[in-house]
């Protein structure tokens, strides 16, 4: 009896993930489908696939500076933020994983609270802070603001990876006469390369998906694509095709790297604690 249910359960077990994946892909398919349609086809006849596929929507985005600059702006501040976050987090994560020092646990906890902080709380004070420094509508303002949650994230993820590296490696290197900077750059960083990759990927992702703070701190010159997307209404009504194409293009950076980080996604979201 038991074996019978077990085998039948096993042979049908592919069904559950399959249904789930179809549920996940349907809305995405719909967006991609729309991005290849003309606006008349979208609002006119209902169709499951584009009958007369067009690249016009993508052409609009790649030829209109007010559109493609949004992507460039997003990429600039996201890359700046990733570089800043990972480089300051590396030594800090090493300190947390190897040493005990005054207030270490409180500091580690305080970092976590910033990862969990609601962006809505910080939107207005950020605006005033960066206004005071004259940094509104610059890429560096958004990059620094996103450090609020990305630096703690990087520290936690890297600390998780570093704790997996045995301490004997450090000690052996010191005995062999390595200075700390040389040891850190030559031996340690290659050892935790995958951890750095995961931390960088998650910093990139969380800065890429955040909209509230990025939108509050920018007006025109550094406006992210996600904020530009919200105003596709033109004189002739809503430009659904371009909106869909813009949405598809924001998914692509994640979709490109997803294969390489597939085994680390759970670890990254769980702050390196899985």
């Amino acid at each position: 009896m038991t074996t019978a249910t077990q085998t039948s359960g096993r042979s049908l077990s592919w069904l559950v993930p399959t249904i789930y994946i179809i549920f996940l892909l349907l809305p995405i398919y719909w967006l991609v489908n729309m991005s290849f349609k003309t606006n008349t086809e979208i609002t006119g006849a209902f169709s499951l696939y584009p009958h007369s596929p067009t690249l016009r929507n993508y052409a609009v985005i790649f030829t209109d500076p007010s559109w493609y600059k949004g992507y460039i702006n997003s990429i600039i501040y996201v890359v700046m933020n990733t570089v800043i976050s990972v480089s300051v987090a590396l030594p800090a994560a090493y300190a947390f994983s190897r040493y005990r020092f005054l207030g270490d646990k409180h500091l580690f906890f305080w970092l976590l609270t910033n990862r969990m902080a609601p962006p809505a709380v910080f939107a207005l004070p950020f605006f005033q802070l960066y206004s005071a420094f004259g940094l509104i509508d610059t890429h560096i303002a958004v990059a620094l603001a996103h450090c609020l949650f990305n630096v703690p994230l990087a520290v936690w993820i890297l600390e998780g990876f570093m704790s997996g590296v045995p301490k004997e490696i450090d000690e052996t290197a010191y005995i062999d006469g390595y200075s700390f900077p040389r040891f850190f750059l030559r031996i340690y960083i290659p050892l935790i390369a995958s951890g750095i990759g995961v931390a960088a990927f998650f910093n990139f992702m969380f800065s890429w998906v955040e909209l509230l703070i990025a939108r509050t701190l920018t007006t025109t010159d550094a406006k992210p694509i996600a904020a530009i997307m919200t105003r596709t209404v033109s004189a002739s009504g809503m430009d659904w095709g371009v909106l869909a194409a813009a949405g598809v293009l924001t998914i692509i950076p994640g979709a490109i790297v997803i294969y390489f980080v597939r085994n680390y996604i759970a670890k990254g979201f769980a702050l390196g604690r899985v």
């Binding site: 300190a95 020092f101 500091l107 809505a120 450090c147 609020l148 994640g254 597939r262 759970a266 979201f269």
Partner: protein, 288 residues
């Protein structure tokens, strides 16, 4: 791992400390500042004490938004956690199916939050969206713009779509760490499918489930972008969560005092949740 006591490690933490202090402590102090003062404009402020806090805590608006937040978090946790476990249990353990599942399931997690909102806004529309059109065609009245129930269903389904994969991936990570010997032993003992789940898989997933539960609770408690894009907090105030209410007060109406008081109350709740998360993490680290 045994750690050595070394206060010089502070120098390594210093850059992080300076950077995060700049982007967290200064803004937070501004909020504290506003929360205890009142202004008639012209940058003239005077002491208001706890007036704003009392005003916020006595307003129906705050309690309504908080209640909506808690109901929303409760519903999505009750659905996402069991669903995530179910899917993780049925995922392939080896072969080509593993990377295919991992990649396709991770996809929604990496989509910008406002695009998630846009996807569902379009998907649910009766005129051009697959979901709305289909429901309309089979005669189910559905309109997330005007109908409170439909708006809630849309937001909940959207959140399930967006975040269940996180629970799945975490549970899956817990499941693949179980050595095969456990299952073989269970087979020899003739354990039922339920017994295997209850006494082998569930205990091994305890830690990842806790992480999933806390992360989902905190992130759903701060939800802003997706409902803002799909419903804008409406119909009426039916989907105005704390974040949306806070941004409306602070940036829409520029009521700095109440907004700051609300921010601090909100932040204290998050602080408490973070503390629970931290305690759980350090305790289970110590156990393993």
């Amino acid at each position: 791992m045994e750690k050595t006591w070394n206060n010089k490690a502070w120098f390594m933490v210093l850059p992080v400390l300076v950077l995060v202090a700049f982007s967290a402590v200064i803004p937070l102090m501004t909020v504290v500042n506003y929360s205890v003062q009142d202004t008639f404009g012209n940058n003239e402020f005077f002491w208001a004490g706890t007036d704003w806090f009392i005003q916020v805590l006595q307003s129906d608006r705050f309690w309504d938004a908080l209640t909506r937040n808690l109901i929303f978090s409760g519903i999505i946790l009750a659905i996402e956690i069991p669903l995530g476990i179910l899917i993780a249990l049925n995922m392939p353990k080896k072969g080509l199916g593993v990377p295919v599942c991992l990649v396709l399931m991770s996809l929604p997690l990496l989509i910008p939050w406002n695009v998630v909102g846009t996807i569902w806004q379009v998907f649910g529309r009766v005129d051009i969206g697959l979901l709305g059109y289909t429901l309309d065609a089979i005669g189910v009245p559905y309109n997330y713009v005007n109908n409170v129930f439909d708006a809630w269903v849309t937001l909940i389904v959207m959140d399930i779509w967006h975040w269940t994969s996180l629970v799945v991936l975490l549970c899956y990570a817990g499941l693949v760490s179980i050595p095969d010997a456990y299952y073989q032993a269970a087979k020899i003992d003739g354990a039922s499918r339920w017994a295997v789940f209850r006494y082998i898989q569930l205990p091994k997933m305890k830690r990842v489930l806790l992480i999933a539960f806390l992360l989902r609770f905190m992130d759903s408690f701060m939800i802003y972008t997706e409902p803002f894009v799909v419903t804008g907090g409406g119909p009426g105030n039916a989907t105005t969560f704390l974040s949306i209410d806070l941004v409306k007060t602070a940036i829409g109406q520029f009521d700095l005092g109440p907004a700051a008081a609300l921010s601090l109350i909100y932040f204290l709740i998050i602080l408490l949740l973070s503390w629970i998360f931290y305690t759980v993490m350090t305790n289970s680290d110590a156990q393993s």
